[in-house]
Amino acid sequence: MTKISVRTRLFAQFREQFGGAVPLSLEAGATVLSALNALAAGVPDGEKAFFEEDGSIREYVVLMRNGKRIETTEAGATQLADGDELAVFPPVAGG
């Protein structure tokens, strides 16, 4: 199977937890959802950051593929290509 390289950019508390720019090597045909799973794997409480208990992506998580917004409900159907950039961040809330 061919692999694709995806560059991720994480911000705010996601950056604290996962790092700022995590390079991912994914199977060809990988989706935004599989990229999130790959990010979460091996990081303590990684899944909890992105996913609800039922496995759906937390609705407030902002996902942008090459600068275009991806709805959390579309993440499983949105394929990534080699060289794509995926930004993942939560809304910062304090004032």
Binding site: A12, R15, Y60, G67, K68, A93
Partner: protein, 245 residues
């Protein structure tokens, strides 16, 4: 017209923007939502810049745990209403401007009324429920909204121009869950300084606004990055209508 005293007080800004721009600041009214971590430095910088009228809205009371970041309030102010302390301290900082203390919670029924005829709205709130109401009021009344938010050493900011840029609900359609946020006062200072700069730039027509761009500040590495943001055609606030609708 600027008085001789004002010309002196704002001399270093007049060097930067000119007297006409300083006059625009004097004629301007800013609605500042929140007198907390962001609201404190925003209020101080807008007051010293000579914004003619600052309406500052908050419904909270000052607690000791606020004082690591809410620099408009003093130790002696614990237990007082934030707007009362804000009004008093801002008058001491600059007696040549009008301060309007608005002791109110921004709610579903009153956001547009509270905002009034402000030229700019500053979002210095600490929760998205209030931010969304403010964002909707800004869109309906066609008033620019300068947003920022902070957590820990991180922050974000953007300037919303109704009908031209994405609104806050385009960028963040869903609120994150509430939590007791860790935060350093200086983080509020960084983001609040950006907000105050945006307000002065907008009112004086200076430079390029943080419009259509989300600035993301990481104080841990002292890096600012930005992400281009787009309008959401399905946005429940600004998707279907023009501003002022």
């Amino acid at each position: 017209m600027l008085t001789e005293r004002e010309k002196k007080r704002y001399a270093r800004q007049i060097l930067l923007f000119g007297e006409e721009a300083q006059e625009k600041l004097k004629q301007a009214e800013v609605f500042l939502a929140g007198a907390g971590g962001l609201g404190s430095p925003v209020a101080i910088y807008l007051a010293v810049a000579g914004i003619g009228t600052i309406a500052i809205a908050d419904n909270d009371t000052i607690e000791l745990t606020n004082l690591n970041r809410q620099i408009l309030h003093r130790d002696r102010d614990c237990g007082r209403k934030k707007v009362a302390s804000a009004e008093e301290n801002l008058r001491e900082i600059n007696p040549d401007i009008e301060i309007r203390a608005v002791d109110a919670t921004i709610g579903d029924g009153n956001a547009e009324e509270l905002v009034g005829n402000a030229d700019v709205i500053v979002d210095a709130m600490d929760n998205y429920a209030a931010r969304f109401l403010l964002n909707r009021a800004a869109f309906r009344k066609n008033i620019p909204l300068v947003h920022a938010a902070i957590r820990g050493l991180h922050g974000q900011a953007t300037t919303v121009i109704p009908g031209k840029t994405p609104c806050l609900s385009c960028i963040f359609p869903h609120a994150p869950p509430g939590e007791v946020l860790p935060v350093l006062g200086a983080t509020a200072g960084v983001l609040a300084s950006i907000q105050a700069t945006e307000v002065v730039k907008y009112l004086t027509g200076t430079g390029e606004l943080l419009a259509g761009r989300l600035l993301l500040w990481d104080g841990r590495t002292s890096r600012a990055e930005e992400i281009a943001v787009e309008r959401n055609p399905k946005c429940p606030v600004c998707g279907g209508n023009g501003p002022g609708a």
